[in-house]
């Protein structure tokens, strides 16, 4: 097992899949000569050449739209959006084209397409460049939405996303690219739509995904010192959403906290809590707590921005609250 960063895990997955299958190619803004604005595709252009590492115009509808077309015609594109905030410019091609193409024509077209999109707040990029709008994409049947929380999962899930014949939104969090973790050696994939217990515990079920998995781990360490054993369930995929490990854990702990970086209203917490209420109401010992972003457009000012974003301490407090 090697220890690598999230950035390296994503980069390795792309590299290995491009080596494995010549139909796989990358297109996006500054993925080639620049090497990727987050350096994920550094060195790719020299190795794979400009035909498979395609610098595009700053034109997101063209980036995603052309990837949809190429996928329909048998290629396996990985379209990179420089940030998920720019996905709104390509929204029609994501939710109206990619998500519908297989169903609407009676199964005639396959769409082996991956859209990579880093998001997340906390970098003083102000309101338009700091969003975590993951749930929006998870709303649409026909898309698969993946948002890994560890390098091992990122690598295995991205390789799986590239290999399957369905369109996948692969959502990264740009503030955790430097986070390190153990990654299995050799070629491996992880199935999409499987949640995973990342830390075992008996007192409370803490549901998280993406960056909030790191925060949940830190919160669990703090709470362990108080004698509270937290079980962390990492959703990993938002659609399909695998509730089985969440419900299994909840039936053991009878208490749940859900942490997400996006806004609370209509969020992942709302969905997961509803499903717990629907499927495990009899096991409920306390109202489910949600930790999420304050309902404001994120400000530039660093202190205000951090006030709006969910923090480790917010998770700690929510766990204590649910155990009262």
């Amino acid at each position: 097992m090697a220890v690598i960063t999230m950035r390296e895990a994503i980069s390795q997955a792309l590299w290995e899949e491009m080596e494995r299958d010549e139909k796989v190619f990358i297109q996006g803004e500054e993925v080639g000569v620049w090497g990727g604005t987050y350096a994920v595709t550094k060195g790719f252009l020299d190795h794979f050449g400009p035909d498979r590492v395609r610098d595009t115009p700053i034109a997101e509808a063209a980036i995603v739209g052309a990837a949809v077309g190429a996928a329909m015609a048998g290629m396996r594109p990985v379209a990179e959006l420089m940030t998920i905030n720019f996905a709104f410019v390509a929204m029609d091609h994501i939710v109206n084209e990619a998500a519908k193409m297989h169903y609407m024509f009676g199964g005639q077209f396959k769409l082996p397409l991956v859209i990579r999109a880093p998001g997340g707040g906390g970098r003083q990029l102000a309101a338009t460049h700091s969003q975590t709008p993951d749930v929006i994409f998870a709303h649409f049947p026909g898309l698969k939405v993946v948002a890994p929380g560890t390098p091992a999962d990122a690598k295995g899930l991205l390789k799986e996303a590239i290999r399957i014949d369905d369109p996948v939104m692969f959502i990264e969090n740009a503030t955790v690219y430097q986070q390190k973790g153990e990654v299995p050696d050799g070629d491996y994939t992880i199935p999409i739509g499987k949640s995973k217990v990342q830390r075992e515990g008996s007192d409370v079920t803490l549901v998280a995904y993406s960056k909030m998995v790191y925060y949940a781990m830190q919160a669990a360490d703090i709470l362990a010192k108080e004698g509270i054993e937290v079980e962390i369930v990492d959703l990993r995929s938002l659609r399909p959403l695998d509730m089985t490990p969440v419900l299994t854990s909840f039936k053991k702990t009878n208490r749940a906290v859900i942490a997400e970086e996006g806004w609370r209203s209509y969020g992942v917490g709302a969905e997961v809590a509803s499903r717990i209420y629907e499927e495990a109401f009899d096991y409920l010992d306390a109202p489910i707590q949600r930790v999420a972003q304050k309902e404001v457009p994120l400000p530039y000012n660093a202190r205000l921005e951090q006030m709006a974003l969910p923090q480790v301490d917010d998770i700690v407090k929510a766990v204590r609250e649910v155990l009262k």
Binding site: F25, D51, R52, R54, T56, P57, A59, A61, A62, V64, G65, A66, A67, V68, G69, A70, A71, M72, A73, G74, M75, P77, D92, H93, N96, E97, H102, Y103, M104, F105, G106, G107, Q108, F109, K110, L111, P141, G142, K144, I164, D165, D166, P191, I192, G193, K194, R239, P240, L241, D242, M243
Partner: protein, 323 residues
């Protein structure tokens, strides 16, 4: 072209016309739901285009797609069954009028968001380029689509990357009810292609042979490496935008003027003049088409509804359960 090929083009155009006339009746009776956009008046454009393409060339179009569907060889039965939402429809009753496709015939649909299929078309051409498969993509769209951002992103990308694609604007003079004179900064649509440094041409879209010849030349150019080209086919939609169109934006006189030089009548006159067909031969085609349409309607009406389980089929290729 031999006589048989000419008569086949005539057959296709009449088949589209009669199929749509019957579809309009079925729509009024409530047997067809949703939107129904008729291609009547524009048949020469899709017929000429599809006649000119090589089998490997992909065609992709907007929601006024019944013409291309027939031209590429989808049976009238499957088209009619799709209009009636039946399991036997070309899209298994899940797409309807606006979403017909047949991947086995390199027809990539039928797309209902104005202009959204144009970046997709660029992607089809990108796949051709990367697969070095000698195919050219033919992207058809209306005059109205040239005002939306998708159009500009798509033709810019195609030109920047020198993709093998022919852009065909079917200028039927109205985007719904708004003419280019009222909606476009330049009403001469070809200027838009020129703005991207693209070779651009125009053709009489009421003349099926002119369309076929022009498209053949353009495809040959593109196949030999010219990069993308643009073609404006000037045509006219005889019916409303869709079935619920009050047509306040044009006069009956204007419509009559175009109907009088409609593509089917035009072609009949040409065939007689060139002594390629007799009146009896063309009338006989009309009889055959009438039988085909009757059979298609019967087939569609007698076809089963999609079963309940079809509701959850084809959401994903690889089902993993859950939602």
């Amino acid at each position: 072209m031999d006589k048989k090929e000419y008569l086949d083009l005539y057959h296709q155009m009449v088949l589209i016309r009669r199929l749509e006339e019957r579809a309009a009746e079925l729509y009024q009776k409530g047997e067809i739901g949703g939107f129904l956009h008729l291609y009547i008046g524009q048949e020469a454009v899709s017929t000429g285009i599809v006649a000119a393409r090589q089998p490997q060339d992909q065609v992709i179009t907007a929601y006024r797609d019944h013409g291309v569907a027939i031209n590429v060889g989808i049976s009238a039965e499957k088209v009619m069954a799709e209009l009636l939402g039946k399991e036997t429809g070309i899209s298994k009753g899940k797409g309807g009028s606006m979403h017909m496709a047949d991947v086995s015939k390199n027809f990539y649909g039928g797309h209902a968001i104005v202009g959204a299929h144009l970046p997709i078309a660029a992607g089809l051409a990108l796949a051709n380029h990367m697969q070095e498969n000698d195919a050219v993509t033919i992207a058809m769209f209306g005059d109205g689509a040239t005002n939306i951002g998708f159009f500009h992103e798509a033709i810019n990308l195609a030109m920047a990357w020198k993709l093998p694609i022919l852009w065909v604007c079917e200028n039927n003079r109205y985007g719904m009810g708004t003419s280019p004179e009222r909606a476009s900064a330049v009403s001469d649509i070809i200027q838009k292609a020129c703005g991207y440094g693209m070779q651009a041409f125009d053709v009489d879209g009421m003349d099926v042979i002119a369309v076929k010849d022009m498209v053949s030349e353009r495809l040959a150019d593109i196949r030999s490496g010219s990069g993308p080209q643009f073609l404006e086919a000037c045509t006219y939609r005889f019916r409303g935008h869709s079935m619920g169109d009050p047509e306040r934006y044009r006069s009956k006189t204007e419509v009559k003027k175009f109907v009088e030089k409609g593509p089917i009548d035009n072609f009949r006159k040409f065939l007689f003049k060139e002594k390629l067909a007799t009146e009896e031969e063309l009338d006989q085609i009309g009889v055959v088409v009438a039988e085909e349409i009757d059979a298609a309607v019967t087939f569609a009406q007698e076809s089963p509804e999609p079963p309940d389980e079809a509701l959850f089929e084809h959401i994903y290729v690889e089902e993993t359960g859950g939602a």
